[in-house]
Symmetry: C2
């Protein structure tokens, strides 16, 4: 194996999480994201280390930045789960004990105990529920309305749809979490965390896992 380049500091490289919708980056502690069409405009000069769950978006990244390195092979998460998405693996790597919720195009809920991944489940993403409601009945294709609380029972169709969607997601997470700490990441993390008293929003969770993986692989120096 050729000697890998080693980086002294997180500032010297760029982390990239290629999702099904957008492509997310971490430059030190600054986060930004891009559509695949806009990647070139970012004009990234530093070395990119990435993970990907979407081939098409990965091709777009490599087209612009051919030296970007996929780090999927650089780490290990203890799990019996077959086919666990690399982004879920990275987020789990960043948590020793707790429940990890990644709320993006899909909502994944994973349980980690003493660094071991115990399993998890998947819900549609908030924005994707509309397709199921539409197929249930035309009248149920309602615009998303952010709810302030789940205290008051809905008294019209629009509220009933939004309430059902949020309560089912929240109560599913709570059922799995019991009294464990809940870590939320992904685009809808902030919105969902307001309904989950024992949760923390960790926007960087996937990148935290990538940082751990790079350190374990000796690509990033441990400080």
């Amino acid at each position: 194996m050729p000697a890998r380049q080693s980086f002294k500091d997180l500032k010297d490289l760029i982390l990239c999480d290629i999702g099904n919708t957008r492509i997310h980056f971490a430059q030190n502690y600054q986060l930004f994201s891009s559509a695949k069409e806009d990647l070139k405009r970012l004009g990234i000069q530093k070395e990119i280390f990435y993970i990907s769950v979407n081939e098409e978006n990965e091709k777009a990244l490599l087209n612009c930045y051919p030296n970007a390195k996929n780090i999927a092979g650089f780490f290990h998460l203890e799990t019996d789960y077959i086919g666990l998405g690399i982004d879920r693996q990275m987020a789990c790597l960043a948590v020793v004990n707790g429940v990890i919720v990644d709320a993006g195009s899909a909502i994944t809920i994973d349980l980690v105990k003493e660094g071991k991944h115990l399993g998890g489940c998947i819900l549609p993403g908030l924005a994707q529920y509309v397709h199921a409601y539409k197929k249930s009945a035309k009248i149920l294709e309602q615009p998303f309305k952010a709810l302030d609380s789940l205290e008051v029972l809905p008294k019209n169709t629009r509220d009933a749809v939004n309430y059902g969607m949020i309560l089912s997601i929240i109560s599913c997470i709570q059922h799995l979490a019991k009294d464990q700490k809940i870590y939320l990441c992904g685009g809808d993390a902030k919105y969902l965390s307001a309904f989950l008293p024992h949760s923390v929003c960790k926007e960087r969770l996937v990148f935290d896992g990538m940082e751990i993986a790079l350190k374990k692989a000796g690509i990033l120096e441990c400080k």
Copy 2:
């Protein structure tokens, strides 16, 4: 108002619940359903009293059985909810205290206390979730797999999708029900009730409500 015909017994008429997918009938205590294309073949001779949530299917019924009577105007359910589907109203009319779950093309969850409807929420139907998962990510368009229990955390994508769907629906119902009795009707009632210890399957719930409405209106004699 012209004097309405009064029926001595439930056996003398047919109740009909026109849904978004199929058209359901109760002939005394026998239940059957039909696609709109097959209505003529049923060769119904008795007077039909119906409710409808689907105009197209209602037209198909009236085309075959022009004397069928819509009973939506014959009853009253106490509620502040605007736009509560007539089938939900009928099911609620049949319960004095409890939670009513109608699991069909959509899953409606309604709370009734001392005969008053307190509100409710709506989830996609089990079969309709697939459309939301598909839009979340292609790999999440998984075939439905009936689960035996929610005890074991999923360890592959297909289980993770089916588990997430069922747990979110079940935990939503349980959150709303607390210690109240749960009444389930609709095509997926039996499947869901296996996960809900304090529930009863009441296939006839909507028809029970229709019977109550007809009795209150004096169309059916009270025995």
